[in-house]
């Protein structure tokens, strides 16, 4: 036994050192946080997460805080989580996520929320089954899956369409009609021709194609850049609108087909009704111009049902305007929110979603979160970030928590 002492020593060192470190020494002692309600309904925070950093160490740690608790990025970094995170972009909707959890066999191979329509009654998914070629007149075959959630019945059919099989940008159900919006990107061009492909769900046939925006013809150094803004509302009756943005730009340097720099010459925002196929321009005030976007003044927009909302915000205030696409009612700058009215010093970030505004408010100590209803302007929720274990306040400082972004998942 005596002659084996070195082998024994190396073996004990190998096992002991690592075991002791991971059982005792690897605890990072970083404080955990959660969002605590000061007033209002805590359920309002189900879709909200705040991101930023926690200092107090030589290197700041990236942290995400929700009502359920906090999550430090480095603490959870591993190969498995990195691989699992590759599907994060598939879905931005909580309802779609929970449906995938419940009905894995129905959604198998159908996981991209832009190609899905979902509400309490239906799950409909559109995907290309066959591409016939590059020529737009040849079209392709689209596979449609219709799942009746209440009856637990699924049917699948294929539809031949004479539209170039571009990227599916949105799917909406209006009565017996299924509207599939196609973003037809052209080779080397920075924008797309946009089509609304209408399929009759009873006859399971392609009915018609409406054009939302034309091709982006290039004339000299001028070209158009088209894009769409989707409706957040999932209810069938009020999801008939989407927005189409058409901008004219001029190339300053470089050329299309390689890298280039351009400046915006003009911009128009249109409300497109899937129901009537009509496109109407909305007031220039709501145009998503970058003219008022700077380091100090930022803006966010949202389309929820018939209502288009715009918030312009800085550290001092957030000013909300709303335009009703059906009634044309214009509530310009009707709501002004300041950090002082919530007992805060600065607005850190603002986001619109679910016809509400979510504000991240910075104070001299722990950050606050406010949720305000955009329809009747009532405060639905006010909450503050707090330690999960209040005793850590003796050794840590809440000032080390620097949250800068608020993110809200679609319901």
């Amino acid at each position: 036994m005596k002659r084996y002492w070195m082998t024994l020593l190396f073996s004990l060192l190998a096992i002991g050192g690592i075991s002791v470190y991971y059982s005792m020494g690897s605890v990072d002692h970083l404080p955990d946080f959660k969002l605590e309600a000061l007033e209002g309904d805590p359920d309002e925070l189900g879709a909200v997460s705040l991101t930023g950093t926690y200092g107090g160490r030589m290197k700041s740690e990236v942290v995400e805080v929700t009502a359920a608790g906090s999550r430090y990025q480095d603490r959870n970094t591993n190969v498995r989580n990195q691989l699992l995170g590759r599907d994060k972009w598939f879905s931005r909707s909580m309802m779609f996520d929970s449906f995938i959890g419940e009905r894995r066999n129905v959604t198998r191979g159908k996981k991209y929320d832009l190609q899905a329509y979902i509400n309490e009654d239906w799950f409909i998914y559109a995907k290309w089954a066959d591409f016939r070629g590059d020529s737009s007149d040849q079209g392709g075959t689209m596979q449609i899956t219709v799942y009746d959630r209440k009856a637990d019945k699924e049917r699948q059919f294929e539809v031949d369409v004479r539209v170039f099989p571009g990227a599916i940008a949105d799917v909406q159900k209006l009565g017996n009609e299924l509207h599939v919006v196609i973003n037809n990107y052209l080779s080397y061009y920075p924008s797309a021709a946009i089509y609304d492909l209408v399929i009759d769900l009873s006859s399971e046939k392609w009915d018609r194609t409406d054009k939302l925006a034309g091709k982006n013809e290039l004339s000299g150094k001028i070209f158009t850049r088209n894009s769409i803004y989707l409706n957040e509302d999932l209810s069938e009756s009020s999801s008939a609108f989407m927005l189409v943005n058409e901008a004219k730009e001029s190339i300053i340097s470089g050329s299309i087909g390689s890298s280039f720099e351009s400046e915006r010459l003009s911009e128009h925002l249109y409300a497109y009704s899937l129901l009537t196929g009509k496109k109407e321009e909305i007031p220039v005030f709501y145009t998503l111009s970058k003219s008022f976007d700077s380091e100090d003044n930022r803006f966010k927009t949202s389309l929820y049902g018939d209502t288009y909302s715009l918030v312009k915000y800085s550290v001092q205030s957030a000013v909300v305007s709303q335009y009703n696409l059906s009634t044309k009612e214009d509530r310009r700058e009707y709501l002004k929110l300041t950090p002082e009215q919530f007992g805060a010093v600065k607005i850190g970030d603002a986001v619109l979603g679910n016809n509400k505004i979510y504000l991240l408010l910075l104070t001299k100590s722990a950050p606050l979160v406010a949720v305000v209803d955009l329809q009747d302007t009532t405060i639905l929720y006010l909450g503050q970030v707090a330690y999960v274990n209040p005793e850590v306040a003796e050794t840590e400082k809440i000032e080390y928590l620097r949250l800068g972004n608020i993110y809200v998942k679609r319901q």
Binding site: L13, I18, T77, V79, L83
Partner: protein, 278 residues
């Protein structure tokens, strides 16, 4: 079992001087760098107590922490760690070839020993694991010693305390060797063990079939690398139209890695038992 342990001891014994040499250069590089960095900083501080080269947003102005010292000595920590990785990387090949090289081919004596030949394979694998984890643990043991040195050199009124994960993440090489997440530790060292087993099998292929064996060995390594690297993409990870869900793909990839690992071991055993003759 007794014979296996004796074989492990034999392999460790053969590597002992190299292991002590690696431990020595780790100690000299790291302790030397810490003393040098602290001496420079402290000599300036003694001259002018208001002086501080430490620019940290959250640590009180002018205070020194062990984490700061480790971040300032990054290069001198990385050099001996990379030398150790390179030496063990080369020894993965040498642990087999040294038995065939030299005046008396030691492998013939090993292969003629009574008992299963797979014990030779397992002993070599165990020895490599002892070297790797022994050096990682030695580094872990060295850190408190280095912290003690820091505390001895820096007066108490000029220093603030640090947590171990913070110290480790301040150094690129330590952060790579000792990930904060224990699952990541098992994943990267599991992948390392898999790589060692694949190389062992490739070496045995070469030893079994000689010239053409080199090609077999290279092909064997290439197929495994391709399988592991491209399997997630082949199964459709990151594609919303793929038949499998991401968690199913991840489970399959980990399962297939485990199967490949076991197949490498069994194939290695078979080559050693049936193909390599005395």
């Amino acid at each position: 079992m007794n014979r296996y342990l004796k074989l492990v001891h034999m392999e460790v014994h053969r590597f002992r001087y190299l292991m002590l040499f690696l431990m020595g250069i780790i100690l000299i590089f790291q302790v030397g760098a810490i003393i040098s960095v602290l001496s420079d900083e402290l000599s300036l501080k003694w001259e002018n107590p208001a002086y501080s080269s430490v620019r940290q947003p959250f640590v009180p102005e002018g205070m020194l922490s062990f984490t700061w010292v480790i971040s300032q000595t990054n290069f001198y920590f990385i050099i001996p760690i990379f030398i150790s990785i390179a030496v063990i990387g080369l020894y993965i090949f040498f642990i087999w070839y040294r038995d065939w090289l030299g005046k008396s081919t030691f492998i013939y004596r090993l292969l003629m020993l009574p008992g299963a030949r797979c014990q030779i394979y397992l002993a070599k694998l165990t020895a490599i694991l002892i070297f790797v984890f022994g050096l990682v643990s030695y580094q872990l043991l060295l850190l408190p010693v280095e912290k003690l040195l820091f505390q001895m050199m820096v007066p108490a009124e000029w220093r603030v305390d640090s947590y171990w994960p913070e110290v480790i993440s301040a150094n690129l090489a330590l952060d790579m060797l000792l990930p904060r997440n224990v699952e990541q530790f098992f994943t990267i060292y599991g992948a390392g063990i898999m790589a060692v087993l694949i190389i062992f099998t490739a070496i045995l292929l070469e030893r079994s079939y000689r010239r053409i064996g080199i090609l077999y060995g290279l092909l064997y390594v290439a197929v495994h690398v391709m399988a592991v690297m491209f399997l997630p993409d082949l199964l459709g990870i990151g594609n919303p139209d793929s038949f499998l869900y991401t968690d199913e793909i991840v489970g399959l990839v980990f399962g297939i890695c485990l199967v490949l690992l076991m197949l490498s071991v069994l194939f290695g055993f078979r080559l050693l038992a049936k193909k390599i003759t005395v």
